[in-house]
Amino acid sequence: MQDDSGSTSAVTLFAPSSATIADIDASITVVASILASLSGAVLITTRIRYKWVPDSPVPAGGSTPITRTGIFFFSTGSSTPDALISIPAIKDSVIETSGPGAGVRIDLSNADVTAFASAVVDNGFSNPFADVFELLFAAYLQSRV
């Protein structure tokens, strides 16, 4: 919600995680209609968030810092924008060790990389404009401090 000064704030309500987007949306609509009379601020955005956490914390698998990031570029077709997915603390084992991309380029033929690319493409992930990913075409190492 946004007030007369332009400042924003939120009303946070909880819903069972088993509820569908449609069910939550319907309840938001009812409450939002009441909030419109109860607040001098106005509704600008609604956000529904489902959250999952492991039942017990998992230790990190190695000493690779979170800033050592793998950047994976996916195409969405010839006339729609490409997009990237970043993976922090990328394993050294997927970085090329020879050739012009040694130490920087991620090996697209690595079995773990191809499994990841298949999981992305086969499950309908997309760029922010809903153009669905078709192919992983490049990947390299980047330091994100």
């Binding site: 909880f14 069910d23 001098g40 609604t46 956000r47 990190a60 992305v120 992930f125």
Partner: protein, 165 residues
């Protein structure tokens, strides 16, 4: 005036490295994708990412956003720091709360408490406790009754201070 969804929802996977530093991966999916489908995909892709990253996966969240295409005009002088606090009884005997920013003065008593007999508050209570609505406490217990309601003020953040000061 209408709430319009963004083209995509967002899956955010959280990581933690051996030093405790945190990072994340963000993926998008077409907005019409059911949450249950995204959950299945998130489990699959988390496993694939585990094989690529030395960091541990701390969990993930799935977010769907809608934005008002033509927002109304806020009431003159309204400030989000002025909160209406609503504390609710839940079915498991605990309590939960939410706040309404820029609460209107017309529902306030002189003491700063909120008039629970005001028609707007009665409507809010009916909506929140109505069995047809799905709101609950953070532990999933159903909200059953309004326990307390009062006005309070939050400290303004630096970003909330007037830009022409």
């Amino acid at each position: 005036m209408a709430l319009v969804n963004t083209p995509t929802g967002q899956l955010k996977i959280d990581y933690r490295d051996a030093s405790g530093s945190k990072g994340s991966t963000v993926l998008h999916f077409p907005y019409a994708t059911l949450a249950s489908v995204v959950v299945t995909a998130a489990d699959l892709i988390s496993a694939a990412m585990n094989a690529l990253s030395d960091a541990a996966i701390d969990g993930y969240s799935i977010t769907y956003v809608k934005r008002e295409d033509t927002p109304a005009t806020p009431t003159a002088g309204s400030r989000v720091e002025e909160k209406g606090n609503f504390v609710w009884r839940t079915d498991n005997g605990r309590s939960t709360r939410f706040t309404i920013p820029a609460i209107v003065d017309s529902v306030l008593n002189d003491s700063g408490s909120i008039d629970k007999t005001d028609a707007l508050i009665v409507a809010l209570v009916a909506a929140v406790t109505d069995v047809d609505l799905i709101f609950a406490s953070a532990d999933g217990s159903d909200i059953t009754a309004l326990l307390e309601a009062y006005q309070s003020f939050r400290r303004s953040t630096k970003r909330q201070l007037p830009s022409d000061r």
